[in-house]
């Protein structure tokens, strides 16, 4: 739980808030978890849902803030510069995931980041495997479009 929250949120305080939200949801839905055919996948989905909500909140706050997020210091060495660029890339990817519709974001994160089988994702999301595949393919295509400038080989995004 802690690791999946961190992988998506990547911010200490946000990760704490997200984990609390996820634990609260698990507690509220404990009856559903007990009866669910794949409780592990359901708990994973609850965590990813909570992390997605955090990304969405972050997007809303970001809109209200100044756009000068990462001013580069004048005396910057290459390593630190790389780190800043990496941070910018990370923020851009997280922002893109937050722009996806919820179901696409959850399906993409469960499939690509957590490498869950389609069957488990379908059980957690309460839909068919075909629907999950469509969510993943659409989410992947959108991310490819939005993040093409970050990708060294932006071809072959079409999912089969």
């Amino acid at each position: 739980m802690t690791r999946v929250v961190w992988r998506i949120v990547r911010h200490a305080e946000d990760a704490e808030d997200t984990l609390q939200d996820a634990l609260s949801t698990i507690w509220k839905k404990r009856g559903l978890v007990e009866k669910h055919p794949n409780p592990q996948a359901l708990i994973l989905k609850i965590c990813i849902d909570a992390a997605y909500d955090t990304l969405r909140k972050r997007r809303r706050h970001k809109r209200d803030e100044s756009t000068t997020l990462h001013p580069y210091p004048q005396e910057e060495n290459n390593r630190a510069l790389d780190k800043l660029v990496q941070k910018d890339t990370e923020a851009e990817i997280l922002e893109a995931i937050g722009r996806l519709p919820r179901k696409q974001a959850v399906a993409v994160l469960m499939r690509i980041v957590k490498e869950q089988p389609y069957e488990a994702i379908a059980q957690a999301m309460g839909c068919s495997e075909t629907t999950v595949r469509i969510h993943v393919a659409r989410g992947r295509t959108r991310l490819n479009q939005w993040l093409a400038h970050l990708n060294p080989h932006p071809h072959g995004e079409a999912a089969k």
């Binding site: 929250v5 200490a12 698990i26 404990r30 409780p39 592990q40 965590c47």
Partner: protein, 283 residues
């Protein structure tokens, strides 16, 4: 996801590389504080999950802990490839009861020696000798030539570090201010309280296996790549840990064992005599 698929969908690689599993230890500790608070809150709410087996645990002082650890185990069991939720419940219960017993026995221990062998990323080995007594902990760093390099002593909340090479002695305010990197790999083992807390809150076992009729059981803590991050071998007569092995996770090579990072061998001096609150169940 195969390598071919990764090549077909380069965005996948970008996502995995960027959203990598690199949870910093200090953040992990903070998150586990929330897990602990969750346990306390759900316990004070007197929550009844409605599971039949919890009836057997009612009136047990460990009920509150059991309920919450069970929920956490369900979450961590997400790495176990089981489709039948009943199997998960049974395995989680078995894991839970054994881990509870281990945790209780550790808290009742009166003394212990343990040897720790660490291997760095460059293959450099370093050994530690740790001795617990009720009022004193002594940690010795043993160099490649079997000479003691440093000694950390904790006595009556007084933390002292002796450097045997420079022949210097210095005092540290408390363990939180211990900044010597040579002692960091063994901080989990420096006291029963530390070890017990790690067993309860940090090393959530994904798999528990009992070896046939043998008096040994093994907890396996899995990482997000479904690989063994750690194995804890437990003596099922005393419910005390015997050996602990931590592996370095290798995310890119499926099916390949990780490199050993830390090996710990425990030798308990005094065995507790109090009865266990929860009897072990085998599934």
């Amino acid at each position: 996801m195969t390598k071919q698929n990764s090549n077909r969908y380069p965005i996948d690689n970008l996502l995995r590389q960027t959203l990598k599993d690199d949870l910093p230890i200090e953040v992990e500790d903070r998150l586990y504080i929330h897990l602990r608070r969750f346990r306390e809150k759900t316990g004070s709410a007197g929550g009844n999950l409605g599971w039949g087996f919890t009836q057997q645990l009612i009136k047990s002082a460990a009920l509150v802990f059991a309920v919450v650890v069970f929920v956490i185990l369900l979450a961590t069991a997400g790495f176990v490839p089981l489709t039948d939720s009943r199997n998960v419940l049974a395995e989680s219960l078995s894991t839970l009861t054994t881990s509870l017993n281990v945790s209780q026995q550790i808290s009742r221990s009166n003394g212990m020696d343990c040897s720790v062998e660490t291997v760095t990323g460059e293959g450099k080995r370093l050994n530690y000798s740790i001795k617990w007594t009720p009022h004193r902990t002594r940690v010795q760093v043993i160099g490649p030539d079997n000479f003691i390099v440093k000694t950390l002593q904790i006595e009556n909340d007084r933390v002292t570090i002796m450097d045997h090479i420079d022949d210097t002695l210095r005092h540290v305010k408390d363990l939180e201010h211990l900044d010597d990197p040579q002692f960091q790999p063994v901080m989990d083992f420096i006291s029963p309280a530390y070890l017990q807390e790690r067993m309860q809150m940090k090393w959530n076992p994904g798999i528990y296996r009992q070896r046939g009729d043998c008096d040994e059981g093994t907890f396996t803590v899995l990482n997000s790549q479904e690989k063994a991050d750690m194995e804890i071998m437990v003596d099922l007569c005393t419910f005390l840990p015997m050996k602990m092995t931590t592996y370095r996770p290798i995310p890119t090579l499926p099916g390949e064992e990780g490199e050993i990072v830390i090996r710990v061998q425990f030798a308990w001096e005094t065995l507790p005599t109090l009865p266990r609150i929860i009897e072990q169940k085998t599934s």
